[in-house]
Symmetry: C2
Subunit: 448 residues, 2 copies
């Protein structure tokens, strides 16, 4: 047995659910199914209530507390009726549950410590008939079951835990990483955990895995054509940085197989002292732009935060401030964290005009600035007119605290919050955020 | 009479040498010629000693104190003998004179307040036989005399004074502007002062004036093919900024004809108070890099100074310091004057590595930095590895005062002086230079 196999076997002991855990999950599922079937009786039809996802395929990680249970409703129901039945049943099964929204609403509730998504979907014969993303799930289930093998669950568990260790497990829009179904498909494609990792160590983007011929061009560093939908890249959410970290982790594992690779690494929270010495060592400008978090799920929030942060970065660069690093995270408040090379520039900025020998433009430019007491020039340099104008915001702080930030491409929901008020913490003042965001600051300040 | 003509006429009164001045110059020339012919007698040949240049063509400006007198030696003399005769005669004519070096040595002396260049050249039949640049002068003389017209001298005087007013009169390598012969050719080409200026207001580089067909491709914003040498651009020394200032001055004159246009504008010297308020208004970094001037003529010095300054600028930009403006000037000391946007940056700099998925490069990069306690990273950003390294010179001052400046492309003679020692004056400390260089600082700080 190779060292890699030995370590993997060791790790699997912890990753694989034991008999008790399986029984308990099974019991939770049965309880929900029972109540759901009772509730459905009232509607006069008798649909299947099925366990789907990793729990159903025996690819779930010990300790996972999420179960997906689907209610397969007849395709003859129209959309409104379908949603109504789904929600009514959900509310009867989980009187204390709450409604979540994906492509359509569903109820989330708790059963014996498990978080249960109780999701209605159409019971279809053919994958080409799917009406929404969740309708695809039973077909995914079928594909994985047909292509699994003895020991398949172990390989998938290893791969999931490995991706988690690399910080890239999950297809949510915060992580932008490797979801469960993608992990299963990779194991099917390459034949096992070790085979996936050996391939990934040599991946060069774009990597395309055709489990069937795609019907359109699919983009991303990793393209895995969904075997049940030729239009769809299962890995579409995988960001190039998640892809890269997975590749990097694969090389590390091949070179040095340790249990560490499967351990979720929590960033070391940073304290005021750590922040202080960081600032002193670097002499950069550190800015936290903070506002109240809007009431939306992470999958809606993070794309907006990133869009806002990108726009802010771009605008600062345009104003001559070089960025070293940025990141964004949220709890009750949202934080856009920016680190700049300098905190202020001179009070003047060069502004290049037209070549002097392009007469009409040159004369227009000169007339515009000739009597402006605030500018230096126009003077001639390299055959062009140049003026030096007062810089609107000599400091990063001045810019961030000005109304000019409202001109940024702000995400819709966060724009409202920002307009309601925001605070800019500068350098050491960021210490006030460490109680709430110590770990996130830790991850930002010591990136890997 | 148009307003332009009126003003020009007015100005000409001052520019045109009066009868006394003409007689005095003629007398000075005759005195030098007499002594030169006496000296030449000893050698047993009887060459012509002639007045050349603007004095000979009646295109000189009243008050000019420079006379060029050429000794036309037989082309049968070999180079060594030619130089020997030239120098011996020169020394006899001007016992207190001194030797200058152009393409070959000659003697410069004083006669009745005039600075006289007494230059030997070959007496050739045909311009295609010229052996050095000075041999061309008699042919220039001939061309201008043949193409002049009634009032030509006045037009040339106006143009010279006009170029001087624009700060671009002179083909020396400090000015990089419009020399006397070039002014004459422009007047010949366009037909008069006003015609030159009307054309120049609309010049768009490159401007080519073919007084004959060129025999090779000539470059520069202004190309004037020498009528006596088809290989040569008479305006080759004209820098794009001199070209642009001339164009600009032409437009100004057309729009608003004033005597001011012909007045040499001396920059307002700046004092410590002026420097102080300049610095406060701008919050830039001002640095004067100062060293002893090497013992070379300006035509050798300025190209070296500019080369050094360019190299310094480039290096500072490479290190992330944006330049606002630079200039260089010299007296007993040389000054490289630089103004930067910021005086210091953070202590760290980003260094981008290879894409993570280019395995061999990525592994090499990571291995190189993985255990380096001085760097942050390697971390992944946009699919590439990035590290942040300590910046070698966080401040401009630290760079300028370090031995790294010896790696610049330094001009040959000034390299020796710099290695002998230099001083960096920062911001207000530059005040110490204002006694010597107040005007030059004035021109730099208030450019036009």
């Amino acid at each position: 047995m190779s060292l890699h196999e030995e370590v993997a076997e060791e790790v699997l002991d912890d990753l694989t659910p034991g008999a008790d855990e399986r029984r308990r999950l099974e019991a939770a599922f049965e309880a929900v199914r029972g109540r759901a079937e009772d509730a459905l009786d009232e509607y006069g039809f008798d649909p299947d209530v099925v366990l789907v996802g990793s729990a159903a395929r025996d690819t779930w990680l010990s300790g996972d507390r999420d179960i997906d249970i689907f209610i397969l409703l007849p395709p003859t129901l129209d959309r409104d009726r379908f949603e109504e039945v789904g929600l009514d049943v959900g509310r009867e099964v989980f009187p204390d549950g709450h409604v979540e929204y994906a492509e359509h609403p569903y109820v989330q509730g708790e059963e014996d410590g498990y978080d249960v998504d109780l999701v209605p979907c159409y019971d279809l014969e053919d994958a080409s008939d799917v009406r929404s993303a969740v309708d695809r799930t039973p077909f995914h289930q079928e594909y994985v079951e047909q292509n699994g093998y003895e020991g398949f669950g172990d390989d998938v568990r290893l791969l999931k835990a490995f991706a988690r260790g690399a910080g890239v497990y999950g297809s949510d829009l915060r992580t932008r990483g490797f979801g469960g179904y993608l992990c299963e498909l990779l194991v099917i494609r390459y034949g096992g955990f070790q085979d996936v990792v050996e391939a990934a160590a040599d991946w060069s983007s774009p990597v395309e895995i055709r489990l069937q011929e795609p019907t359109r061009e699919l983009e991303g560093p990793l393209v895995v054509v969904d075997p049940v939908d030729s239009d769809r890249n299962v890995a579409s959410v995988v960001h190039v940085d998640s892809f890269s970290r997975f590749v990097e982790a694969s090389r590390d594992w091949l070179e040095d197989p340790t249990e560490e690779a499967f351990r979720q690494r929590e960033p070391e929270p940073i304290d005021e002292e750590g922040l202080g010495s960081y600032l002193e060592d670097r002499d950069t400008g550190v800015y936290a732009f903070v506002f109240r978090a809007p009431d939306v799920v992470e999958d809606q929030l993070y794309p907006q935060l990133r869009k806002t942060l990108d726009s802010m970065e771009e605008e600062l660069e345009r104003r001559g401030f070089d960025l070293l690093r940025t990141s964004t995270f949220a709890g009750d408040r949202c934080v856009l964290l920016l680190e700049t090379n300098v905190d202020r520039q001179s009070k003047v900025e060069r502004h290049e005009g037209p070549p002097v020998d392009v007469r009409s433009h040159a004369e227009e430019f000169r007339d515009k600035y000739a009597d402006d007491q605030e500018v230096t020039g126009p003077y001639v340099e390299g055959g062009r007119y140049v003026v030096e104008r007062p810089r609107r915001h000599p400091s990063v702080e001045s810019y961030l605290e000005s109304d000019d930030v409202y001109d940024l491409a702000l995400g819709r929901q966060i724009e409202n919050e920002i307009r309601d008020g925001y605070t800019v913490y500068v350098d050491g003042d960021c210490g006030e955020l460490l109680d709430e965001f110590g770990a996130e600051f830790g991850r930002h300040l010591h990136p890997r």
